[in-house]
Amino acid sequence: MQQALDLRQNKYSEVSQEEKDRLFQECKDDERWHHILYGCYECGICVAACPSAKFYDFSPRLIAQSVAREDTDAIYTLMNDSVWDCSQCFSCDRCPRGNSPGQIITVMREVAVKNGLQTAKQALEGYGRIIYKIMSTGSQVSPDMLQPNAFPDWGHHVNEIADNLEVWRRALPPETLHTTETGWKVSEKTIIELYLIWHMTGVMDLIQGIDDGLHMILVDVMEERLEEAGYDIEFD
């Protein structure tokens, strides 16, 4: 059962004001920041349009107002206890003031991950296998992920797919779709280029911030394939 959002200032009183200010400053330093926050009319249109607000103690208006007021205590609480409820559908872009609470949250999540906040790690528990798949293969989900233990609430149908997976994939006319471990056939050259992008943009540091073990596995896989392709690259 999800707990109600607690915005009392003593919730994270053990965290210094300097630390809260520093994290908010990181948000403000993002190039997108000044194009996604203009103020708040308090009209509530973002809340009315928000799917997460209907099922969680979650309010895009509260987030827009807190960041507009630069209330770093509230922002720190929201960064920990609220931003992961967002559906990232951007229905809140209907804001008549021009705010994008959804994008404010994208930035806040990025700062939470970059700084390895414990709540970000908790929010992404169970998500590691997806990160492994996308980072190592360039495809977010794959046919072989359709297993009953991963999707029990999708019913018996998942068993049927899992049982027939090899044959049903071969029974697809496009030649690129005969794969089971990736959504489609991705060339070796493409994967190498993707790993080089991860290396040049520093995203592996973000992975390390939230899951050290996953980071180690990914680095092993990537460095080995890069070496086979003639690149002498280390991610650390």
Binding site: F55, Y56, E110, V141, S142, G155, N164, P173, T176, S187
Partner: protein, 395 residues
């Protein structure tokens, strides 16, 4: 009595006025940056169709020489979606390219976990665009999130000099150019542009079918000015996408009050917090559609929307909720209308909610079609055939 100048909603006339648009045409800046040597613009190839966007700008939709930017969720879990897009291209004899030099846009992961950054996201996008450009084709984006995200990336690259410089440096190291398409085009815009030609080839009557449409959030909410609108469809108050294509096939598109709501996908929710996705999808979408429109089918145009609206109904059924609506993509409905095989092409066995009553209502012999597909599977199992080929599917 005070007379207020109020016009009833159904009598209002919405005029599309480009000069009053709150946003400007990004292409002017793109071409200016190209002149300054900052980037190269990939032109929309001939032949193309012209459609109108939200604020009246004319958008070019290429009909062929399309490079199919596939979707990980479609290809992985609902592969009849992409197969139907390819089948339509083949049926019209159009020149298209199905690449292996393509990665996911990685935006699903970005919106789910934030374990990436704008520089990496832009570099992944431009690597894919460059790959299309190198083989002389134009990117056609299959996924709604890829489409929305690439519009955002294009916007950022035009307006952020520093990001542009960083991505150009990365591309240089990969031996690629910084190339940006003149238009970011979603496959459903291609279906919409082709709708009259699809209707000309229609062999299955759909005039007795009622559908509800779910427009994908990342199609019409991100960079809204690039989404297709038509004055004849909802008075241009909402996007014409999917609805216009279905109406061309004679389908009655019924309205429902929660059309603007998302499907419940939620990016991280559908993978690790699915109680939210299930509840939202059933309670805010499927049950509302059922109560207000009672359609034969739900049609949408994005990976996550088809998946969430379809798969979530299993739990709803267990709780005796008002569910039981088959969910398909517009490409599948268009292919079906033109006589495509429901299992060899539409691959409906990957979908969850029972779609047989819908197929039977169209006069399709479901048992016969399934037996035909099973016979192909038996040949594969027996090692007498390696794969089901296009020729097999087009028989």
């Amino acid at each position: 009595m005070i007379h207020l100048p109020v016009v009833k909603a159904n009598e209002r006339v919405f005029k599309i006025t480009p000069e009053e648009a709150p946003t400007h045409d990004l292409r002017d800046e793109l071409f200016q940056l190209e002149k300054e040597g900052e980037l190269e613009v990939i032109r929309v190839p001939e032949p193309y169709m012209e459609v109108k966007t939200k604020y009246g700008r004319t958008k070019k939709i290429p009909l062929e020489k399309t490079w199919h930017h596939k979707s990980c969720g479609q290809c992985g879990h609902i592969p009849g979606y992409s197969t139907s897009i390819f089948w339509l291209n083949r049926a019209f004899g159009l020149d298209y390219y199905d690449p292996t030099d393509q990665t996911s846009c990685t935006a699903w992961n970005y919106y789910a976990s934030a374990t990436s950054n704008p520089e990496a996201q832009a570099a992944v996008a431009i690597r894919n665009f460059a790959s299309a450009h190198e083989v002389g084709y134009f990117p056609l984006i299959h996924c709604g999130t890829s489409f929305g995200h690439y519009k955002e990336v294009r916007h950022a690259l035009v307006h952020q000099h520093d990001l542009r410089r960083k991505v150009r440096d990365i591309m240089k190291k990969l031996g690629k150019k910084l190339v940006i398409p003149e238009e970011i085009v979603h496959y459903s815009e291609w279906v919409l542009a082709m709708r009259d030609r699809i209707a000309e080839r229609q062999v299955i009557d759909m005039s007795h079918i009622t559908a509800t449409v779910h427009p994908a959030c990342h199609y019409h909410k991100l960079i809204e000015e690039d989404a297709v609108y038509e004055s004849e469809i909802y008075g241009a108050q909402r996007t014409a996408i999917v609805t216009a294509s279905l109406q061309a096939l004679g389908i009655n598109v019924a309205d429902y009050s929660s059309w603007f709501d998302c499907c419940g996908f939620g990016f991280r929710h559908i993978l690790v917090s699915r109680d939210f996705s299930r509840s939202f999808s059933v309670q805010r979408k499927i049950e509302v559609m059922k109560e207000e429109a009672n359609p034969d089918i739900v049609v949408t145009h994005d990976t996550g929307c088809v998946t969430t609206l379809d798969q979530s109904q299993v739990a709803g059924k267990a709780h005796n909720m008002k569910v039981g609506l088959p969910v398909m993509a517009d490409s599948q409905v268009a292919a079906l209308a033109m006589g495509a095989h429901p299992y060899k092409v539409l691959q409906l066995h990957w979908h969850n909610t029972d779609n047989k009553p819908f197929l039977r209502k169209l006069g399709i012999d479901v048992d016969k079609k399934w037996a035909e597909f099973q016979a192909e599977c038996d040949l594969i199992k027996a090692g007498k055939k390696e794969y089901l080929t296009w020729e097999d599917a087009e028989k």
